[in-house]
Amino acid sequence: MHFPHPGPQEAPGRAPALLLRGIDKSFDGHRALDGAGFRLDWGEVHALVGENGAGKSTIMNVATAVYAADAGEVIVDGRDVPLRGPADAMAAGLGMVHQHFRLVGSFTVAENVALSLRGAGQKVSVAEAARLLAARAAELGFRIDPAARVDELSIAERQRAEILKVLLLGAGTLILDEPTAVLTADEAQALLTLVRQLARRGRAVVLITHKLREVAAYSDRITVMRQGRTVLDAAPAEGLAMDEVARLAVGEMPAAAPRIAARPGVPLLSIEGLSAHRGDGSRALDGLALELAEGEVLGIAGVGGNGQPELVDVLSGLRRPGGGTIRLGGADLLTASPAARRDAGLRVVPADRFDSAMAPGLSLAENLALTGVASGRFGGRWLVDRRKMRREAERLIADHEVRGGGPATPASLLSGGNAQKLLLAREVSDGARLLVAHSPSRGLDLRATRAVHGAIAEGVARGMACLLISEDLEEIMSLSTRVCVINNGRLSAPMPASEVTPERLGALLVGHA
């Protein structure tokens, strides 16, 4: 009798590092993956590209058994072994570096590594872990202090610690979820170089990203996903037209917001000698000064940690300034309450919308009404008019093409892009004279970024002024009429957008101009 059986893998070379076929995955009826596939070969850097919600992270979470697929097969290094959880995946050599690092903040780097290794069944002391870390880091050509506490490391250092941890756990395949999203341009380049080096030594690397252009130069192959399907399967990156890839990923694309013309209007905002301290007593803002006129966008570029969040909090009234003046259209706002600031026309889009702008547990209608109820826009002195709230929400949701929910949907269920569109709809509304926007497109895909930028441009066209604080130079360049750089709590002299070059900005960013 003859039993057909899978023979040894056909030469040449090894079986793929990771092969996923026909993967289906639904969440509460929402189909996140629809027969998606992915093939990763040894020795390559593979970019997995797609918009937010395309299914990139989901398919990798299926590969590493964080999620169980509804259908389809996962084959790791040619072996069809069922993976019953992330620990199994790790043991099979699949290491995933998530967007939110899996590190204990109050532990040192070495303690974190020791913890993970022991979790994987290896009896390793913290001292041994420190030695392993130092050796592996030296091999890869960078430094890391194994005795440093993780919560005292920069984001880039944490990422490196996480990558080292995953490598020490024996990962042959490294999956990085949006690794460059939190990094500066220089840090991103260093990371991508490192990743390439790992691949050249025989590992396999997946870069999940929606910023194709950033990783394209470092990738050997590209897979594109859209709406839960694989639309471009492991195409060699060389000779691939990037515009074509972007079109595949996005589908129909909304037009970019037209450049905002510099039309000097009436002076609106004047800040002088503004100072503020962080919670630990260090100086965050140090005599910061700026002038802003109606219809203007002042872009404030800068490396993170130079006082940006403190500036936003001082302006929105959530942090007490140390001194200085803030005048908005004649009103003195330095110590004004948040309510008085809103009355004066100040609107804020903070970097983390669920930290100080929206409540994840409230419905969309309630979030939209949050700023209007106190002024009596939704009901009288005592009662609230929930019908009016709902109608207003329906209107804004339709006008701003917010998808994924109605007025009663909790805000936490919206994707980042849609939640941000909604927040802009609320903030750039009647009576907005000055918008303070901090990294408004961070984490958003191209489509949502364009919608957010469009909303800002529209407000500015109506005469609103905007203070755009961002670490994303592309964002600064595409919206600003003037640009300056924040460094150690101080601003450089602003220059007209037409005179800005990446070189000049780069020199200012590192503080040597």
Binding site: F27, D28, A68, A69, P82, R84, S316, G317, L318, S337, P338, A339, A340, R341, R342, D343, V348, P350, F354, D355, S356, A357, M358, A359, P360, G361, L362, E366, A369, L370, T371, V373, A374, G379, R381, W382, L383, V384, R386, P410, L413
Partner: protein, 353 residues
Amino acid sequence: MLDGALLVRRQRVPLRLSAASYFGGLLFGLALAALILVQLGVPTAALWQEFVVQTFLTSQGLGQTVTAMIPLVLVGLGTALALRVQFWNIGIEGQLWLGAMAATWVSILDLGPEPLRLPLILALSMLAGALWIALPLALKLLWDVSEVISTLLLGSIAFFWVQHQLFGAWRDGKTGFPTSPTLDAAERLPLLGWGQVHAGLWLALAAVLLAAMVIGVTRLGFYARAVGANRRAARAAGLPVLMTVAVFVLGSGALCGLAGAVIVTGTEFRLSQSIGAGYLFSGIIIAYLARSNPLAVLVVSFLLGGLYTAGGVLKVFYGISEAMVLLVQGVVLLSVLCAQLFADYRVVARRPA
């Protein structure tokens, strides 16, 4: 078995499912309780009679359940109000003691004309409860002192104060026991002619209605929702956060104070050391199970009142020890709490590999 299944969090929990899981948990808990009681020698036939008929279906039993429910509604509502603005009132019993002491004080001094005595008692008890929580509130708002600790400790202080009064100035001269003298007729809440059920019922129902309205349709209720959901966002949006927190927390203290007065003037007619025991745990359980919803507080308090009434019957007629009664009640409540898991998560069988 657990290895073969996965828990998948539901994005949204339908109301029907939530209700069904509570009910399922209740049935499971009652079944488990029945097993334990049978083991302890309670005849199987008596279970139905005692747990259901005598507690909920006879006029006398229902009256007892409703009487037990009245202060539970007030403390449950008090906890729920504070929770709405993320304030953990662990000092329910302290505010309850203060309310009970205010009532006793008015009664002993015979303050005010007789027709106004009862309204004065009720008003002062609410004031006393609110004042007792005002200190933790101020500490929290000014210096971010954890209210869990401050309200809890003030609860102990209140109890020692009660003991100080009962063993001292307020001791009943007639009996010599550490209880206050019994209240005059004019100081008692009128009976409604149904067992021991008294006019405190109307107070509790009015409090539920008022709270439901404030939370549901007023601006203040909307502020509280926003503050509870994201305090920083509420502040940045220009909402009066401090005022909202203060109103809800002081209201919480006032309701717990009122509960103390209702116990003294409605059922006990004197202050003793035992009248406030257990209300802290009851209040938290009620607010949690009711998810801080005032109408649900009423329902949960009613069921809990029944559970306590049944416990009393078990103790008196079947000689079940206090410890076993608490254990049985705990089994029922724990089952209901755990059952919520099945509403929040979907249990999915793992695909055979």
